[in-house]
């Protein structure tokens, strides 16, 4: 790019992660000139990655320059490939769950799941019909009537050495072949410049680490830089709107969320020792990779006020002598034969309640391009842990009721829950979606409230998070946005 040049385009896509790439692929061949601006190159570069550095306070969180990756493909370069659609209840406003609810039902993005599934290369869209493909491996663990059931993940597939689909590596050639798309690598958007009345985006300031600076003037722009970088760009662009773009109601950067992963939350005992292998290990059938987990039914969640949760079965463990006494007593009392019992540790996926004070703000420090760095105030409430405990308790109840086994909850105090806490690297919620600008940064079409030609794609717009991994869902949402944008350019 010649220095100080200006590029005009119809649609600028800022960020080349799963959301941005899906959007570009969906708009391929349409009469819209597309320009993708990606900060990184085709692989990891330490200097570019350092642009992500920030500070974290409060509950332990992964350093901001380690929880994401800044090159083509974005966070898909380190994801685990776990896919599962959000549940219908995740979209509902629930009185007992403050700030919850999307501006539409799941049915609104359902038509996009099949294409999203294809982009993540997870095989046919089967999920909770998976049991019929895994019959030969045995029936799911018997649970008494109640709140939880066996649900299914599917996995982005292994192709040669690539596990799972890394969007940059996988789609770089496809992007090159799109005639109406230009991709600029090493192009960092450092500012969103609004018109004087703040009603439209006028231009994007772009800089490279090699010192080049230029301008992009798009008719429409979509920010697809993830749940952390998106609010940074909005907050840092404060020359027309002093609080930042889209931040008239002080919402940008608030409600940050991720999925906490406390280690070894519980122990599952199966009395007869027989548990189908698909609970512990991914199985392949009918062209898809599956793994089972336990999840609360939507109805249970509505009735009992339970947020999203997923419980996986992990490695086999030994139980201590007091636990053996508990087993002897419970199995004896229920007339179950526990002579062949086996015990497993359980893995945790839990949804956090939306919290406006779990928040990203700008710090006083700046990166190599002069953009203010971020400061994260991370929080988890005791209620978040209490809700997950209640879900585990219900699973334990159902196991006893069916005489299949029993369950031990290993954490009681807050300190126990927080010890060794890890995170899913699922950055969500910081530019939440709501029809009312007082409660959301973007509207139901992902357009920034008050700015006619600026959109946000990705999990930054999730107003409520569910427990499912976000990638499949944010891609479905990006494909829906692509359809909306097609209409805008007609």
């Amino acid at each position: 790019m010649p220095p100080a040049s200006t590029i005009e385009t119809d649609l600028a896509i800022i960020g080349g992660g799963p959301a941005g790439i899906s959007l570009a692929l969906a708009l391929a061949g349409k009469p819209i000139r597309l320009l993708m601006l990606e900060s990184g190159g085709l692989g990891f570069d330490a200097a570019t990655q350092k642009l992500y550095a920030g500070t974290e306070t409060g509950v332990h969180y992964i350093p901001l320059d380690a929880t994401r990756l800044r090159y083509l493909g974005g966070c898909s370069n380190h994801w685990g490939g776990w896919c599962r659609p959000l549940d219908p209840v995740d979209f509902e406003a629930r009185e007992w769950f403050p700030h919850s609810g999307w501006p539409f039902r799941r049915s609104e993005i359902e038509p996009y799941y099949a294409r999203a599934q294809s982009l993540v290369e997870a095989g046919p869209f089967i999920y909770d019909d998976s049991a019929k493909w895994t019959k030969a491996l045995g029936a799911p663990l018997r649970l008494g009537p109640g709140g939880l059931y066996t649900t299914w993940f599917q996995f982005s597939k292994q192709r040669g050495s690539v596990l799972p689909t890394h969007f940059g590596e996988r789609y770089a050639d496809d992007l090159k072949r799109i005639a109406n798309l230009d991709v600029l690598l090493h192009a960092n958007v450092t500012g969103l410049k609004l018109s004087p009345d703040a009603k439209r985006l006028d231009r994007l300031d772009v800089a490279t680490l090699s010192g080049n600076r230029f301008v992009v003037k798009p008719r429409v722009a979509v920010i697809a830089t993830g749940g952390i970088e998106t609010p940074r760009l909005l907050l840092a662009s404060n020359d027309v709107m002093s609080k930042g773009v889209g931040n008239a109601h002080d919402l940008v950067g608030r409600f940050f969320a991720d999925h906490p992963i406390p280690p070894q939350t519980a122990t599952l005992v199966v009395f007869d020792g027989r548990i189908p292998p698909y609970y512990q290990l991914t199985q392949t059938a009918n062209g898809a990779n599956f793994r089972a987990a336990f999840a609360p039914h939507d109805e249970f969640r509505r009735m009992r006020g339970v947020p999203g949760a997923l419980i996986t079965v992990e490695g086999e463990v030994q139980v201590d002598s007091t636990s053996q006494a508990a087993l002897a007593e419970a199995a004896g009392a229920f007339g179950a034969d526990a002579s062949q019992m086996r015990a497993f540790t359980l893995g945790c996926g839990m949804e956090l309640a939306p919290d406006p004070d779990r928040r990203l703000t700008l710090s006083g420090e700046k990166d190599a391009l002069g953009t203010p760095r971020l400061k994260l105030a991370m929080r988890i409430s005791d209620d978040d842990f209490a809700h997950y405990r209640n879900t585990l308790k219900e699973l334990g109840r159902q196991l006893l009721e069916s005489r299949a086994g029993m369950l031990r909850i290993l954490h009681t105090s807050r300190a126990e829950w927080l010890a060794g806490l890890d995170w899913g690297n699922h950055h969500m919620g910081t530019t939440r979606m709501h029809n009312d600008p007082r409660h959301g940064v973007v509207d139901a079409n992902s357009r920034v409230h008050g700015v006619g030609n600026l959109y946000i794609a990705g999990s930054a717009v999730f107003p409520t998070y569910g427990a499912s991994n976000p990638t499949l869902n944010l891609i479905a949402l990006s494909l829906r946005l692509a359809d909306h944008l097609k209409g805008q350019f007609r």
């Binding site: 508990a326 007593e329 006893l400």
Partner: protein, 128 residues
């Protein structure tokens, strides 16, 4: 054969007979009496009727010890509540009722019917 030999034979027969009788008694003791002789004996409690419902009182006591400190109610009060709850029903019926009503308690983290946990606490207290 001398008279001394007759006397020796008589003593030998008598000794054999005594040993045989002792063997029979030992066998009988082994099959009927020994387990009782070596089994743990518990001092009587006012809630032996409840403790008799437990499948394994030793295990119950070990588990109950893990939650004893968290249970403030007196044994009399606990046993009164349990008797009212159990009535004439079998233990498993009452435990199933606990599960159905969501009447649960945790012992050493294990999610169990409350009735079973309270019985375990009584077992632990009865162990002194």
């Amino acid at each position: 054969m001398s008279s001394a030999d007759h006397a020796r034979l008589g003593r030998r027969s008598l000794l054999k007979g005594v040993l045989a009788a002792a063997g029979v008694l030992a066998a009988a003791a082994a099959s009927f009496e020994v387990p009782h002789l070596f089994a743990r004996r518990y001092a009587p409690t006012p809630f032996d009727d409840l403790l008799a419902l437990l499948p394994d009182r030793e295990s119950a006591a070990r588990l109950g010890a893990a939650v004893m400190a968290d249970t403030r109610s007196s044994s009399a009060s606990l046993s009164q509540t349990l008797r009212a709850r159990i009535g004439g029903h079998s233990l498993v019926t009452v435990l199933d009722s606990d599960l159905e009503r969501g009447r649960l308690a945790e012992a050493h983290g294990w999610v169990l019917p409350e009735t079973l946990v309270v019985l375990c606490v009584l077992a632990a207290r009865s162990n002194g």
